[in-house]
Symmetry: D2
Subunit: 147 residues, 4 copies
């Protein structure tokens, strides 16, 4: 697998934070947030990062590009619970001509709950590999407007 | 609202049954299936009915029609639980030129868990109202191939 | 069915508004938000109302009460789309000794997208009917702290 | 990370297959199955394997043990689409005193769509680490009743 980014457990290594609140619908019979519910959290944080960088995902798609998810890796360190306010730190890295990776750190207050990495490839509306927009390399360099 | 179909609590009033098994991901912290999880069950049963009638939802969409959901009503009578085998009885009714309604009865063994009704409208790929396929009236008349 | 509340389409008839942003994970192949995704939106808005009224759902549950969903009715008037900011107006009504109803109006800007009603019953941790907390009648009377 | 199992892309390396059909609710605006929807598929296949081995997940939980998900890794090779019949091959491996890993291969017909690995830890109802049931080592040795 090409997934190669290591998600830091230090929030200061990330350039952007997005906060979500967990939903009751996302809990399971173990009384915690179901592990699958974390995947949309990552996606929401990624979309918030793009928006913050001036490139909403709708504008990316309007330009004829989708960022398909090629790989996903999540490390569940402590459970999330209903009504938790989760700070999701996000960082883009390992940008190539056709792919990029995103690292995530999920915290409730100072407590680490999860780390994760996703690998993305640019595709056109038919699902064929496409060229990454040039601005993504800048996002990967941490050239973000201040939060 | 135009929702007018009354879902019978007698399975013999329905012409088709589709069985699903609940997933752990669909449970919530109350230890039961989350009420929102029932909505995809209804949709899966509806798709199974169309397939049984010889018109898979993919073939409907390939013909340029979507069945948008206009209204939804669910009556939760007893909780569903993880690993339940749920028999979903389905019946199409109240077919007009542009809309149809579907009634549902959800049972685990002989026990009634939910009843529900959905109202659908035919739309084209841009979301504009379209004419219902003619075969839907026949499905509404109960003219189904034997289960 | 006992569902009897009519959801007003005038936001000024509601005492509380909660804003959510739709997620890409909630879209479907029709290019819109899947109708089932609205159910967790209603629940999130309900939880926000309780929190605003000084009774978080966690505190309700810690007191030994769950608010089971008995009925659900949704009227989809116009589609929601990815990245929409949705203002969900919420109002509690028709409070009895054991049940209450909640009306919802979903808008994007001034445009109405959905209306909905849920009916809830107080249950104990074993799922048996319980007495509603007294403060719910006050929430139903609109006695909310200012938003 | 302790995730160390490599999911084979050869179905004959797996001892058990579980078939699911994708749901329309699981599609997204890219017209494919949303990547997050795969996580419940893995869980359903895992539960089917346990049931086949004579230990339903309900019986595991009734014995006071939950199998918490510690890590998740998914490699999306080709998109899944609505109405696909997906054969999920499952294999338990790398069983220790407190953890086990599960490898997955998702195919539609002969085409590989995804591979995945999950790492699980036995926990008691309070979420504390517990001892794995002894029979899991046998499942890991491939000592399954014939499919």
């Amino acid at each position: 697998m090409r997934l190669s980014l290591t998600p830091s457990t230090d929030a200061s290594d990330y350039g952007f934070v997005h906060r979500i609140r967990t939903r009751f619908a996302e809990t399971d019979a173990m009384g915690i947030i179901h592990h699958g519910a974390v995947v949309p959290y990552l996606e929401e944080a990624r979309a918030a990062l793009l928006r913050h960088a001036g490139h909403s995902y709708n504008s990316v798609r309007a330009a004829g590009v989708d960022f398909a998810v090629l790989e996903l890796s999540v490390h569940y360190r402590r459970p999330l619970r209903f009504d938790d306010l989760v700070d999701i730190s996000v960082r883009v890295g390992h940008v190539t001509r056709a792919t990029f990776q995103v690292a995530y750190l999920l915290q409730v207050g100072d407590e680490i709950r999860c780390t994760a990495v996703t690998v993305h490839g640019a595709v056109d509306p038919r699902g064929k590999a496409a060229r990454l927009p040039a601005w993504l390399a800048e996002v990967g360099n941490g050239s973000l407007p201040p939060d």
